[in-house]
Amino acid sequence: MDSPLIRITDLKKHYQMGGTTVRALDGVSLDIEPHTFTVVMGPSGSGKSSLLYLLGGLDRSTSGQISIGGERLDQMDENALALFRRRTLGFIFQSYNLITSMNAAENVSFPMQFTGIPNAERNQRALQLLEQVGLADRAHHRPAELSGGQQQRVAVARALVNNPSLILADEPTGNLDTASGVTVMQLLSELHRSGRTVLVVTHDPRMTRFATHKIYLLDGHVVDEDEYQSAALEMSQGSNESLEIK
């Protein structure tokens, strides 16, 4: 068996809100094997995004260790983190985060500007990736001229542009209808089959069918499936009861 690509040890992310401390992540430890498709599940506020941002080197943890491919993210300086994000990582956001004043092709090639790849090669690669996500005919459309699903596919193409080995997606289907969501998930699944490691945050159970592994988060802790299911049941009953009282 492969040694884990990602190893997280006792990871904590606390936010100070006035006098109170919000423990978004409170001692998370987990391993993620390479070439897996992992889905991170959990109710709203359980710390899924916080975990993903820390894995993506977009934020700093309060304590604990993250190592990816043997390198300690929590010990990297700003510059090293930037290079890590550039070379190793493709990040997909729930809200796409496309630059509205650029067309689809420009958005896809945007990350390559920082890498020194020649311009002609960049354009070619952007078009090729747009074709791969089925948007060859939309290359010169601006985000405003695209549907949500199309925008998210542009974002997927952009995440792939530097050929990352690790794809992180934070609720990529959260803003999409089911059909568009499935298209995006199929794209991510293809990426997994092509040898990449994929980590997707979702609270949509329908998305779990693509997963090889599942991680459950509750109040900043990793829990096993049974615990998660009973908690979910409790929660739904709780909400029913309160509805009945009214």
């Binding site: 934020d59 930037a82 630059i99 990350p111």
Partner: protein, 445 residues
Amino acid sequence: MKFFDLLRLILGNLSRRKARVALTAIGVVIGTAAVVILVSLGIGLQKSATDQLYGIGDLTLIDVMPTYGGEGGYYVGSGGGGPAISLSSELQEPALLTNSALEQLRLIPGVKAVIPRDYLGTQTVIRYQRMEGGVNIIGIGTNDLSTLGMEAGQGTTDLAKGTVVIGVMTPYNFYDPYQRPGQETPPPPELLNEQIQLIVIKWDQDGNEIRKTLSLRVTGILNETGGEADYSIYLPLDLVKSMNEWAYGTRINYNKTGYNQVIVKVEDPNQALDIADQITALGFQAISPQSFLQGINNTFLILQLVFGGVGAIALLVAAIGIANTMAMSILERTREIGLMKAVGATNRDVLSIFLGEAAGIGFIGGLGGIIVGWLAAQAINVIAIIYLAGQASQQGGAPPSVAVYTPIWLPIFALIFSTFIGMLSGLYPALRAATMIPVQALKYE
């Protein structure tokens, strides 16, 4: 990030916000144009002032006069001498311009020639045929006026016994003393190779007039210098000396009394002030036209600084505009900054991009400013020259060639300066953008 990628990105970002960039740049246009116009005006004023000062003479010449010390002025020398200089210190050691003193002057590095001169200290009349002329007669201790940098327009600059070299305007000072009213004024005489009479006049104790006449041949007419030489005639120093001796009835020993005046010619006009100082340190009085020029230049330097300062204030206001625009822009593009970082831009990349955009606004504004400023300077020039030429013809002076002058370094400097100002005003916003935490930038609404 490669330079051309950076440049392309910056240009793309600026062109996507044309309206805002243009509005911000207008402030820089005004500021830069103000700098260009005002400094051009200052330089133009200086130029026309120094052009007119050209008349004060050759900048490589230093007039040196002796210091007499004590009560001063025991030497009843020839009248009409050099400029009147009041001696400040009565206790000064006398410093006479003897031959050994002249040797000392010749030893100063940068000195090309040291030439004594003297004026004829008695009444004289110059006559040519029927005409008489009143001119300035200078005895000069060289046999070639070209050592003083003078050039002959006609004939030669050589001075020999019995010859005279005259200034270009001297023929115009000849008049016919027997001209009757209504008679036509004769044209100025053609004097080259002609004999002129020099009549020296003195009076004996009883007040009887005694005249002595010398016949001299004009062998050269000097080019116009704009200075004293134009209205002077040059004779060998020995001749002037012997006529002065005749007029005063005493022998003159320059080695004992010293020369009244010495001209020091220096190699480089820029050294003139320095050499004049060294001569002063030897105890003599030294006057260099360069020192007038320096005083005037200092005045204009102050004027230019004031003018430039006014322009710089306009640029400062523009800089605040750039800072404001950049701060707004960075606020609006916070998510874009977050994204840049998420896809692998380093802090330095982000800093370069926003600094570059601010510098770009400064550059565009500066470019517009130097075009507007240059055009305005040309317009002022046309108007001012028409106006000043009208004034000059009324007052009888030379019309100025230029009122506003833009040297080539000014637009280049203005462009660099406005770009730099742009960059400087973008520094704080750009630093803020560069150091944003990606997650916070991405979550910004």
